[in-house]
Amino acid sequence: MRRTPLVVTATVAGLAGVLAFHTTPSRLSLGTSPGAPGTSPTPAAAGPSGSQRGQSGSGSSSPPPSGPAAKAPPGGTRTVTGPAVNYNYGVLSVSVTVSGGKIAKVGIASIDDGGMQRSQYIDQQAIPILEQEALQAQSANIQGVSGASYTSAGFQQSLQAALQTLGFK
């Protein structure tokens, strides 16, 4: 029996700052998709978050394009910009380009962080993560990617501390 699972994807910005204490914390929310009834996002009090949901085929976890315009999986190529959402330091929106029902590109469409350097920071930190998730979505046969790419700062601190303690030679 072939199943076409309903895939519910929520991007949660909950752990910012847990990972490291040397760098500026950042929290990021993706746009929300009000397209399906009964799934209105319910941002938690501690910070805004969004959820995305939609149908996918063949078990792919590709999130749907977000935004009010996103209702059905598109056949061609199009770009959808999600709604501007609040995050801890301002407002941002995310754009998703979908081609043939799969995500081709993800990026920050707009960001207003009050002129802080965090815009650049978020670009550096979050976009690679989004791209990685786009990568996984492009394959119909995997549901995620495991990698150290984006946790390296906390990881390296831990490693170096361990090395020093151990007198590693």
Binding site: P5, V12, L15, A20, A126, S146, Q157, A162, L163, F168
Partner: protein, 252 residues
């Protein structure tokens, strides 16, 4: 440094949507609570206050003791290679907390109509279930030499964590020799619990292939190490999946 957590819930019944939304909210709350308790940059978080000696462990929320207990176990199991007590600035369990919190958030999804769920905390992944009967989750492992590519695919039962040194260059210098010290470009650990898998992956990234024995000795945990020269070593039952359909595997 922040991270983005992505949650995928696979349902067998489209009517599960409302329940799932509620569970997503619960998972979100769990992650945000973990952040509030364990953040080392928020000066008033319990862990920050603990690090400054303003409160005793007994005065911190119960989760702090729980996590530190788990960290002690992970330190033991990793032969000391994973050690949150050795952090500059005082004890810092953050290396464990991300996996722990993701694992805990996963616990929000246990309703009927769900065949599986994945909580992906920027590459460290907790899961239960599958896509459906006979369709295990497949998770790609990023190529440490080309992180936008995949180097392997695994069948996922439970959790997988990957640690490595590649994204920011090799900053791990042995203070004694002044030479790069990490003995693995990438170390991935699978097993039932993401917190421990993450700790073990961190340990293996430094220890390199000789550390595989410690994982081999642990029930339910498997490991794959990619050495700086690209060669690979793994434990006996590492759950490799065929991956000809995976995106651009670099020929080796």
């Amino acid at each position: 440094m922040g991270t983005v957590v992505t949650i995928d819930v696979y349902t067998t019944d489209s009517r599960a949507g409302t329940d799932v939304s509620r569970q997503l909210a619960t998972a979100r709350a769990i992650l945000q609570h973990a952040d509030a308790v364990f953040s080392t940059w928020q000066p008033h978080s319990p862990v920050s206050r603990l690090r400054r000696g303003e409160i005793a462990l007994a005065e911190a929320p119960a989760e702090v003791s729980e996590v530190l207990g788990q960290c002690a176990i992970a330190r033991e199991l990793s032969g000391g290679w994973f050690d949150p007590w050795a952090m500059p600035g005082g004890i810092d369990p953050t290396g464990y907390v991300k996996g722990w919190a993701a694992q805990k958030a996963l616990g929000a999804f246990r309703a009927s109509g769900i065949c599986g769920a994945i909580v992906n905390a920027a590459g460290d992944i907790a899961s239960f279930g599958s896509l459906g009967p006979g369709q295990p989750f497949r998770i790609g492992i990023a190529d440490p030499f080309s992180p936008r590519r995949l180097i392997e695919v695994v069948y996922l039962t439970g959790a997988i964590a990957t640690s490595g040194t590649y994204e920011r260059g090799n900053h791990l210098i042995d203070p004694n020799t002044g030479r790069p010290a990490a003995r693995a470009a990438s170390a991935s650990v699978t097993g039932p619990d993401l917190g421990l898998a993450d700790a073990l992956a961190t340990a293996l990234a430094v220890a390199g292939a000789p550390g595989l024995d410690m994982v081999e000795a642990l029930d339910g945990y498997e490991a794959l190490i990619i050495a700086p020269d690209g060669s690979r070593r793994w434990t006996q039952h590492f759950p490799f999946a065929p991956h000809e359909a995976a995106p651009p595997a670099r020929p080796r």
